[in-house]
C-alpha cells in the first residue's frame, strides 16, 4: 500500500486518536500566542545592521534628531487664520500639555519636551528698536489682543526657518512638531492629543500626522483589523460552503482545519521568538483560503460520490486516492512559492514566507489526517442525505453543472478561439505590466477619509511638507600628512603679506615651524607642538608683536580646522543653491540648513535689511553669526543642522508627499545637482530619515520579490515536470498560472494602482494558488484519458467531479474574501481584491485554457506520455 493509503487508513481507523492529538497540539501551540510581542515599525523591514539604518541612527544621534509627530492647527473661519488670541491660547495649552506626555508604563517613551517646535518653544531673532536685536520666544505667552497675535504671525513669516515649517505660507495654519523618543509611542501621543482636543470648542481644526503616527497607528489598527477581517472572511467562506454542501456538520471540518492551521502556525511563530510584525500579522489571512482549498476538494468530491458509492469509508478511500497526489503537489508548490520569500533580503518577509510555507504543509497534513477522521466520527445517519442524488439537484448544483457542460463544449469546439484570446490577453497584460509604477507610502495604507490621510492632505496643502528626509553632507577631503600640512601653512603665512615691522615675527614663526615639522610624527602632534611654541613666543612679545603672533596663531588654527568646511562661505552658498535647486521639483516644499540660519542672523544683525540676507564673505564672519545665534534660549537648535565641530551639515528636507517615487525623484535631483555643479570642496552626501528609509526597503522589496518570484517560478516548473514526469506537461501546468499573473499585474499597471508592499507580497501568493487548479485539472485529465482512451470522452469525466470541485473552490474563496474590501486599511482591501481575482482568474484560466490546449495538442501530449 502506498504511503498515501497508509495515512488515510490510519486516519479512518483511528479518528479519535487523530482528533485528540490535534486538539492537544493546538492547545499547546495556541497557548504560546499569549507571549506575543508586537512590532509595528516598518523600519524593521530592513535588517538592523543595514547600512541605511545604521546611517539613519548615526544621523539622528549626530544632529540630535527624533521622529516627529506633526500636530497641525488650521483656522479657515477667522480672517487672521490661527493667529487670533483664542486659537493661540489653545495652541499654547496644547504645547504645554504635550510637553508632559510620556508612556506611564515605560517613561523612557516620551515627547522630547526640549525639542518641541511650537510658537511657544522657538526662539526668534528680531529687531528690538534703537538698532538692537533681541532673541525672544516667538510666543512667550498667548497674546490677548489681535495686534499681539498678528505680530507673532509677522515675526514667524519673517523668519525663513519658521515660514513653511511652523507657520503656513498663507498664515492660516501652524504646525507643532512633537519629537518622540520612540516611534511606537506616536499612536499614544495622537490618542492623548485627540482627547485633549475634544475639550476645545473653538472654530479651528486640529490634524495629526507624520510618518511615525501613520506607521504606529497602522500597527494598532492592523490588529483590530485582523481580529475583525479574519473571522469575517471565515464566516463568508462558511456560508458559501453551506450553500454548496448544505450539510452543516460536514463543512465544519474545513473550518476546523483552517482554525487549527492558523492557531498552530501563529503559535509556532510566536513560540520561536518572532515578533508579530505588519507582515506576519497577514499570515492568518493568507493561510485561511489555502487551508480550506484542499478540504473543499475532498468535500466536493465526497459530496458528488457519496450517494453513488453509499459507504463513507469506501467513498473516502476513493476520494483520497484521487486527491492525494494533487493535494500534496498543490501544497508543495504553494509552499515553495512562499518559501522563495526567504531569499529576499527583508527579515519580516523571510519570516512571513517561512511560516506561511510551514502553515500550508500543516494544513495539508491536517486535511489528509483530520478531514477523513472527522467524517468517520460523524454519526452515519447524519450523512444519509449528504451529497447529490440524481434527481434531487438544487438550483445551484444545476447552475454549476449547466455552466460546466457549456464550457466543456465551448473549449472543445472553439479551442483555437480560446487560445487566440489567451494570447491577446497576454499581450495586453504585457503592455499593462510595462506601465506598472512602483510606489508606496505608509499614509496611503489608510483609506481616503481616514483622519490621518485627511490630516496629511490638509497639512501638506498648507505647509512645506510633513515628510522628513535628511540630506547629510560631510567633507570628503583627504587627510594630509605632516609635510603637506607644514608646506601649506608656510604658503599661507607667506601669503599673509605681513608689513615690514612684522617680518621679524613671521620669520621667527617659520623657523619654529621648520623645527616642529621635523620632529612631529603626526598631524595632531604638529599642531599642538607648534601652537605651544608660538604661544610661548607670544607671551613674551611686546604689544605690536603680540598682535602678529595672534594672527599667526589664527592661521594655524584655520589650517588645523581645515575639516570644518561648513564655516566656509563658498560651501554655505553651495548648500543654499542646492536647496534652491531641489525646491524646484515641487515635491520639496521647504528645506532648512545652516545656510538659512547664517543668512537670517546676518540680516537681523544688519537691521533686518533684506540686502543682508546672505552668507558673509569670510569663515570668521560665518562663525560670528553662528555664535551670535547661540546667544538665544535654545542654542542647541543649531546642532540639528550642523555638528558642533562644523564637519557635518544636515539639510532638513520637508516633502509634501511621502510617496516613495517622489522621494526617489528628489534623490535623483540631488545626484544631478552634484554632478552638474560639483561642490567647491570635495563633499560626500548621504540620505537619512524615514521617508528615505522607506525608499530603500521598497527597492529591496521589489528586487527581492522579483528574484524570489522568478526563482519560485522555476522551482514550481521543476516540481510540475517531476509530478507529471514530463517537461511538456509541466509546461502545460504553468500555462494558467502565467496567464493569471500576467493578467493581474497587467491590470495593476493599466488601472494605475501602485505596486506597493502588499502587492509585492501577493505575487508569491498568486504563484502558489494559481497553480493549484492546474495541478488538479491535469492530474485528473490524465487519469480520465487513460480510462476513456480519448480526450473527447475523458472530457465528460473531467467536467463532472473535478470541474465541480474547482468551480466551488473558485467561488468560495473569491467571494469569501470580499469582507476584506470593507476594511479601513488599504493593504487589507488589496489582499481581498487580489485573492478574489487570483481565484477567479486562475479558475477561469484553468477551465478555459487547459482544455483548449489539450484539445489542440492532444496528440503531442498523450503521445509523449505513451512513449
Amino acid at each position: 500500500m502506498k504511503v498515501s493509503g497508509k495515512l488515510v487508513q490510519f486516519s479512518i481507523n483511528k479518528p479519535k486518536l487523530v482528533t485528540t492529538v490535534m486538539v492537544v497540539v493546538t492547545l499547546l501551540l495556541g497557548a504560546l500566542i499569549s507571549m506575543v510581542q508586537v512590532d509595528t515599525d516598518p523600519e524593521n523591514m530592513l535588517n538592523e545592521h543595514e547600512a541605511v539604518r545604521v546611517f539613519h541612527h548615526l544621523t539622528k544621534k549626530d544632529f540630535n534628531l527624533y521622529d516627529v509627530v506633526v500636530l497641525g492647527v488650521v483656522n479657515e473661519k477667522n480672517p487672521d487664520g490661527v493667529f487670533n488670541p483664542a486659537t493661540l491660547k489653545r495652541v499654547q495649552e496644547l504645547t504645554e500639555f504635550s510637553r508632559t506626555l510620556a508612556d506611564p508604563n515605560q517613561p523612557e517613551k516620551r515627547v522630547v519636551s526640549r525639542n518641541i517646535i511650537a510658537p511657544g518653544t522657538v526662539d526668534n531673532i528680531e529687531q528690538a528698536g534703537l538698532g538692537q536685536v533681541r532673541f525672544e520666544w516667538l510666543m512667550k505667552e498667548a497674546p490677548t489682543t489681535r495686534e499681539g497675535a498678528l505680530k507673532i504671525r509677522d515675526n514667524a513669516m519673517a523668519n525663513p526657518l519658521l515660514k513653511g515649517t511652523l507657520v503656513s505660507e498663507d498664515g492660516m495654519a501652524l504646525c507643532i512638531y512633537l519629537p518622540v523618543t520612540s516611534k511606537d509611542f506616536a499612536y499614544q501621543v495622537r490618542e492623548r492629543l485627540l482627547e485633549k482636543i475634544k475639550e476645545f470648542d473653538g472654530e479651528e481644526q486640529f490634524y495629526i500626522t507624520g510618518l511615525p503616527v501613520a506607521e504606529d497607528t497602522f500597527g494598532v489598527e492592523m490588529f483590530y483589523q485582523m481580529a475583525l477581517s479574519a473571522p469575517l472572511a471565515m464566516l463568508a467562506i462558511f456560508l458559501l460552503m453551506l450553500l454548496f454542501f448544505k450539510k452543516l456538520k460536514m463543512i465544519i471540518s474545513p473550518m476546523i482545519v483552517a482554525m487549527v492551521t492558523v492557531i498552530c502556525t501563529m503559535g509556532l511563530l510566536i513560540g520561536t521568538g518572532h515578533t508579530l510584525h505588519i507582515m506576519s500579522s497577514m499570515i492568518p489571512i493568507f493561510l485561511m483560503p489555502i487551508a480550506v482549498v484542499d478540504s473543499i476538494h475532498i468535500l466536493s468530491e465526497f459530496f458528488d460520490a457519496y450517494q453513488r458509492i453509499g459507504d463513507r469509508r469506501k467513498t473516502l478511500e476513493h476520494v483520497m486516492d484521487h486527491l492525494f497526489m494533487p493535494m500534496l503537489y498543490t501544497s508543495l508548490t504553494s509552499s515553495a512559492g512562499f518559501l522563495s520569500l526567504t531569499l529576499t533580503p527583508i527579515p519580516p518577509v523571510q519570516t512571513f514566507g517561512l511560516f506561511v510555507a510551514v502553515g500550508i504543509m500543516l494544513a495539508w497534513a491536517l486535511t489528509i489526517l483530520f478531514v477523513p477522521a472527522y467524517v468517520m466520527l460523524l454519526k452515519k445517519e447524519s450523512l444519509a442525505d449528504f451529497g447529490i442524488r440524481k434527481n434531487k439537484e438544487t438550483p445551484s448544483d444545476q447552475a454549476v453543472a449547466k455552466h460546466l457542460d457549456w464550457l466543456k463544449h465551448f473549449t472543445f469546439n472553439h479551442c483555437k478561439l480560446v487560445l487566440t484570446l489567451t494570447v491577446l490577453v497576454i499581450l495586453v497584460a504585457g503592455y499593462g505590466i510595462s506601465l506598472i509604477r512602483i510606489n508606496d507610502n505608509p499614509v496611503n495604507w489608510f483609506t481616503k477619509n481616514h483622519p490621518i490621510r485627511v490630516a496629511d492632505q490638509v497639512l501638506n496643502k498648507h505647509f512645506g511638507g510633513t515628510y522628513e528626509a535628511y540630506l547629510v553632507l560631510e567633507s570628503a577631503e583627504q587627510e594630509l600628512d605632516v609635510t603637506a600640512i607644514a608646506d601649506r601653512l608656510v604658503t599661507s603665512i607667506n601669503n599673509n603679506a605681513f608689513a615690514e615691522d612684522q617680518q621679524k615675527v613671521s620669520r621667527a614663526a617659520l623657523g619654529l615651524l621648520a623645527e616642529v615639522k621635523d620632529s612631529a610624527t603626526s598631524p595632531e602632534q604638529f599642531y599642538s607642538q607648534l601652537a605651544q611654541q608660538w604661544e610661548a613666543s607670544q607671551d613674551t612679545a611686546n604689544d605690536a608683536d603680540y598682535e602678529t603672533w595672534a594672527q599667526l596663531l589664527d592661521t594655524l588654527s584655520a589650517a588645523k580646522n581645515r575639516g570644518q568646511i561648513f564655516k566656509q562661505p563658498e560651501v554655505l552658498n553651495y548648500i543654499a543653491s542646492l536647496q534652491a535647486h531641489i525646491q524646484k521639483t515641487g515635491v520639496v516644499g521647504k528645506s532648512n540648513s545652516v545656510s538659512d540660519v547664517v543668512k537670517k542672523v546676518h540680516q537681523e544683525l544688519f537691521a533686518a535689511d533684506p540686502q543682508h540676507y546672505r552668507i558673509p564673505d569670510t569663515a570668521n564672519g560665518v562663525a560670528q553669526c553662528l555664535i551670535s545665534f547661540q546667544n538665544s534660549h535654545k542654542p542647541e537648535d543649531l546642532f540639528h543642522l550642523i555638528t558642533p565641530d562644523y564637519t557635518k551639515a544636515n539639510i532638513w528636507v520637508q516633502l509634501r508627499s511621502g510617496d516613495n517615487m517622489d522621494m526617489e525623484e528628489v534623490i535623483k535631483d540631488v545626484e544631478r545637482f552634484f554632478s552638474e555643479e560639483p561642490p567647491p570642496i570635495a563633499i560626500k552626501h548621504n540620505w537619512a530619515g524615514l521617508t528615505y528609509i522607506n525608499v530603500v526597503w521598497q527597492d529591496k522589496m521589489v528586487t527581492g520579490m522579483l528574484e524570489s518570484f522568478l526563482s519560485s517560478f522555476v522551482v514550481v516548473y521543476i516540481m510540475m515536470a517531476i509530478l507529471f514526469r514530463s517537461p511538456l506537461w509541466g509546461l502545460l501546468a504553468m500555462g494558467p498560472l502565467t496567464v493569471t499573473i500576467a493578467m493581474i499585474y497587467g491590470i495593476i499597471g493599466l488601472v494605475g494602482k501602485d505596486y506597493d508592499m502588499p502587492v509585492a507580497v501577493l505575487s508569491s501568493l498568486t504563484l502558489g494558488l494559481a497553480v493549484d487548479f492546474a495541478i488538479h485539472f491535469l492530474e485528473r485529465s490524465r487519469n480520465a484519458y487513460q480510462r476513456a482512451g480519448s480526450w473527447r470522452k475523458a472530457l465528460d469525466e473531467m467536467f463532472a467531479e473535478p470541474a465541480q470541485a474547482i468551480t466551488r473552490n473558485v467561488v468560495v474563496i473569491a467571494v469569501g474574501f470580499t469582507p476584506l474590501l470593507a476594511a479601513p486599511l488599504v493593504p487589507y482591501k488589496t489582499v481581498g481584491i487580489f485573492l478574489a481575482s487570483i481565484m477567479a482568474v486562475s479558475g477561469v484560466a484553468t477551465m478555459f485554457i487547459l482544455p483548449a490546449l489539450i484539445t489542440q495538442f492532444e496528440n503531442i501530449l498523450f503521445k509523449t506520455k505513451q512513449q
Partner: protein, 265 residues
C-alpha cells in the same frame, strides 16, 4: 594716637554692622541673599579673569571658548560693567561682549563682531538666554537681581544656609523656583538647583572649586548642568586678580573695536 583712634573708630563701625547678626543668631533670608550677591559678584572694586569654558553635550562632544573678562563696579551691590574679550575659538577672536548692568532698569549690552566689523546692541529684556552657546545664562555671568525673587530660608546645615527663591514674575522665567546653598562663613553660593514648571529638578549650577585670592573667596571652577538636555558647561577661571584700577572708559563702545591691553595675559 591717631592710629589708635582710627582703630577704635573702625571697631565701632564694625560693631554697628555686626551687631544685628549677633543679636539674632539667624540672619533673615533677604540678608543672606544680599550678602551672597556681594560675595559672588562684587569682590573688589574691579577684577579680571581668563576663562576657559568647556561645553559638553549629551553625546560627550565638547567645544570650548576662551575669553578674558574684566569687571568694574560702580558701587557694591550697584551698577557694574563687564567687558568680555574672546580669544578662542580663533574664528571669534577679538569678539567683544560689553554689558552695563543696571539695578533699576534693563541692562545695556553690546556685541562687537570683528569679522563683520559690526557693533550691535543686544536687547537685554530676557537675561535667561544662553551665554555664547554655553549652559550658562547671561544672568549667571552677571548675577540675578535679588529683587526678582522672594526668598525663604529652608534650613541651616552644618556648613550652609539653604534657601528657596520663588520668582515674583513667574512668566518671565523658565523655572518655578530654585534653591541655593550658601556658605555660612563666606556667604559664597556654592550650589543652585532649579526646578522646572512641573517641579522637576532640571538645572544645577555649582562652584566646584573656591580659592581665596587677594582675600576674596573666588570661584575658580564652576559647572552648569542641564539635566533635561544632558549637557553641561565647566568654566575654569585663571589669572584672577582684583582691584587693578580698571579705567571706566575701557567699558565703553570706543574700546570695542580696539581692545585694551588689560585683555592680554
Amino acid at each position: 594716637m591717631h592710629d589708635q583712634l582710627r582703630a577704635a573708630a573702625l571697631i565701632f563701625v564694625a560693631c554697628l554692622f555686626i551687631a544685628p547678626f549677633s543679636a539674632s543668631a539667624q540672619p533673615t533670608a533677604d540678608e543672606i541673599v544680599a550678602k551672597a550677591n556681594l560675595a559672588a559678584y562684587y569682590a573688589g572694586n574691579d577684577g579680571r579673569a581668563s576663562v576657559t569654558m568647556t561645553i559638553t553635550d549629551e553625546q560627550g562632544r565638547s567645544r570650548s571658548r576662551e575669553f578674558v573678562i574684566l569687571r568694574r563696579d560702580q558701587s557694591d551691590g550697584g551698577d557694574q560693567a563687564f567687558y568680555v574679550y574672546f580669544k578662542k575659538p580663533s574664528d571669534v577672536r577679538k569678539m567683544v561682549f560689553l554689558v552695563h548692568k543696571h539695578i533699576d532698569k534693563d541692562d545695556d549690552r553690546w556685541l562687537y563682531l570683528p569679522a563683520l566689523d559690526l557693533v550691535k546692541r543686544i536687547a537685554a529684556s530676557d537675561k535667561r538666554t544662553s551665554f555664547v552657546g554655553s549652559n550658562f545664562f547671561y544672568e549667571d555671568v552677571s548675577g540675578r537681581s535679588p529683587d526678582d525673587d522672594s526668598h525663604e530660608l529652608l534650613e541651616t546645615t552644618a556648613k550652609d544656609y539653604v534657601l528657596k527663591h520663588t520668582p515674583k514674575d513667574p512668566a518671565s522665567v523658565e523655572f518655578s523656583s530654585y534653591s541655593t546653598w550658601i556658605d555660612q562663613a563666606t556667604f559664597m553660593p556654592t550650589k543652585a538647583e532649579y526646578l522646572d514648571k512641573e517641579g522637576r529638578k532640571y538645572r544645577v549650577v555649582e562652584a566646584l572649586e573656591i580659592k581665596e585670592i587677594q582675600g576674596h573667596p573666588t570661584v575658580v571652577k564652576s559647572r552648569v548642568q542641564d539635566l533635561a538636555a544632558g549637557s553641561e558647561t565647566v568654566s575654569v577661571f585663571e589669572d584672577v586678580s582684583y582691584d587693578l584700577g580698571l579705567k571706566e572708559e575701557i567699558f565703553t563702545e570706543r574700546y570695542l573695536r580696539r581692545a585694551p591691553s588689560e585683555v592680554r595675559k
